[in-house]
Symmetry: C2
Subunit: 390 residues, 2 copies
Amino acid sequence: MPTPTLADIQAARARLEGVARETPVYRSETLSSACGRDVHLKAENLQRTGSFKIRGAYNRISMLGEAERRAGVVAASAGNHGQAVAWAAREVGAKATIFMPQDSPMLKVDATRHYGAEVVLTGPAIEEALEEALAYVAESGATFVHPFEDPLVIAGQGTIGLELVDQVRDLETVVIPIGGGGLASGIALALRESKPGLRIVGVQAAGTLPGGPGFTIADGIAVKKPGELTMSILERMLDDMVSVTDEEISEAIVLLLERTKLVVEGAGAVGVAALLHDKVGGSGTTVPVLSGGNIDATLLISVMRHGLASAGRFLVVRTRVADRPGHLAKLLTLLAEERVNVVEVEHQRETPDMSVAETGVELTLLTRDPAHCEEVLALLSEWGYPAVRL
Amino acid sequence: MPTPTLADIQAARARLEGVARETPVYRSETLSSACGRDVHLKAENLQRTGSFKIRGAYNRISMLGEAERRAGVVAASAGNHGQAVAWAAREVGAKATIFMPQDSPMLKVDATRHYGAEVVLTGPAIEEALEEALAYVAESGATFVHPFEDPLVIAGQGTIGLELVDQVRDLETVVIPIGGGGLASGIALALRESKPGLRIVGVQAAGTLPGGPGFTIADGIAVKKPGELTMSILERMLDDMVSVTDEEISEAIVLLLERTKLVVEGAGAVGVAALLHDKVGGSGTTVPVLSGGNIDATLLISVMRHGLASAGRFLVVRTRVADRPGHLAKLLTLLAEERVNVVEVEHQRETPDMSVAETGVELTLLTRDPAHCEEVLALLSEWGYPAVRL
């Protein structure tokens, strides 16, 4: 397959005009001061369908001939690519059939159907979905849209690079998530020629790399390695490729949510995670690409709870009070006097190692930072409520 | 106090250029189809400091003379206004002193300090903070910046209206949060002349209106009524004033978060809540102003959990299984076969009305909608695990 040229990416940009959004770029004061360099965020999570994937999918699907369009398009994906193909097919009036693992989150199934695609639920994992998709393609004559090993798809994703040239003055470093590598290849191709001295860094999720636990909250880039075409481009174009842990990704998600008011999914937050942990190198004006915002609300809740707890802004303790009226109130009054916010109180009457005259209490407290947590624990013990941190 | 003119608002816009962001407007497909009209969101939550308040604060503070600037500025606020005054004062090189109730969330205190202001923690409520602020003003000669009863503040907020004229074609209805009324007055003044037929609707939080419970998650507009100046403008300018409950606001927050990838605080979500509950009237292209995004992360978690539960996407049940190895696994296998996602399992060995041979289990399940919840409850009972919904 040929590597896309700058002209291919410019042509893609013309096709996408009025179709994809030119997503905004924001300077983040918090991140700039945390990272010691000017950090501007490319908010591609605000793209239609919630991720960059429609750029490539539309660029590919809009180039189909009349007969191909009638035969329809096919993808195998439980996530953003499936939604993007469904959306792009609807835009050009083609039929889309999306194959998904049978355990795909119902919300993603619904979103894909909502864009007018037929969803086929197949075996347990994406491999089976891919197999069935290819079998369907062979028999139906529909066009398979690959999520990254396709010059038109790569060129579509590359349009983000062209936008960055227009949007950010003095761009020195770009940080791009890498799963299959389509996004990073496209952006790198778009930027290499026009910005020769630019530093381009790819970020992978450590969880699904060889040696990792095999799982990551950055499901959008949960791929063992990039494709052949994308890898050949990345090897020539990238200055560095680094990885971040789920812990680091969670922290970045919470920071983006609280400080920039943007919902960013795991895959979209890896660039910020890498910056916060000083893995990017280079200097000057730096742009992490926030590639998407499709994070499941229940996962987001877990990530936020986890992030707040590890930042010490949440303290869950178990202690005991005398099981007589007024004793819990006394403890709560003491906490209030110290201006400690109590979020939740849970009684646990039946705890094995406790006398009948006592009752267990689980308290969730709002704290400021790890030092404040220690302070509160010391106070509780001083007041006669020795507490175990949970 | 004089009512600001269109020329005052235009002057404010010129002053704010390069200072405040011209925040983007997005068409929301989800909201447009849910509301049966074209809904475009004015994403003012992406404004610097996370709310519109810097527009008014900067317009006021940048007009101070050299001597006034040296004497500094003062505000009484536990929220967005305090942060905005701190931020605007730093921009013009003035000293800011912000009076806050002593129980203000530590994060807001920190954010305000972060912008360089001196924070004075005073009595239990905002009334005491205001009193102390005014006493400090009398003695120090600093300038008090009112959050809404000030023509320059109102003119600053009005710049949002001028942006809307440029950003949205065929604007027919605008929906604006109302607390003190500065935002709504300003926008209405900006739009009335240039768009004579426009429908302008203000939305209040029912929780803090007379007859309400006295509490609202929309803390940014938790004011009993607008000011004298703002009310006189609103009475002339608004087509209607409606209110929404905290339940309706929560739903809007979750929808904005999941579908548009924007973090919006309670006050910022009231317009969308009113639209979703058909309280706005009018028709055609409609713009709710998402006034801010400063929602505490712990509150956001509660709102999301609540929103998911009431949408039936979360089912928490208690049931019992035989307290022998393998019995819980059997139940989980049955659920897995029905493709029900289990988020949390909690054992409760000590439940009063249970035989020794049994153990209580609390399950948190991911479900699709209320009908799916009923289905799962029926299945559990069919399998011999009668479950109580919690």
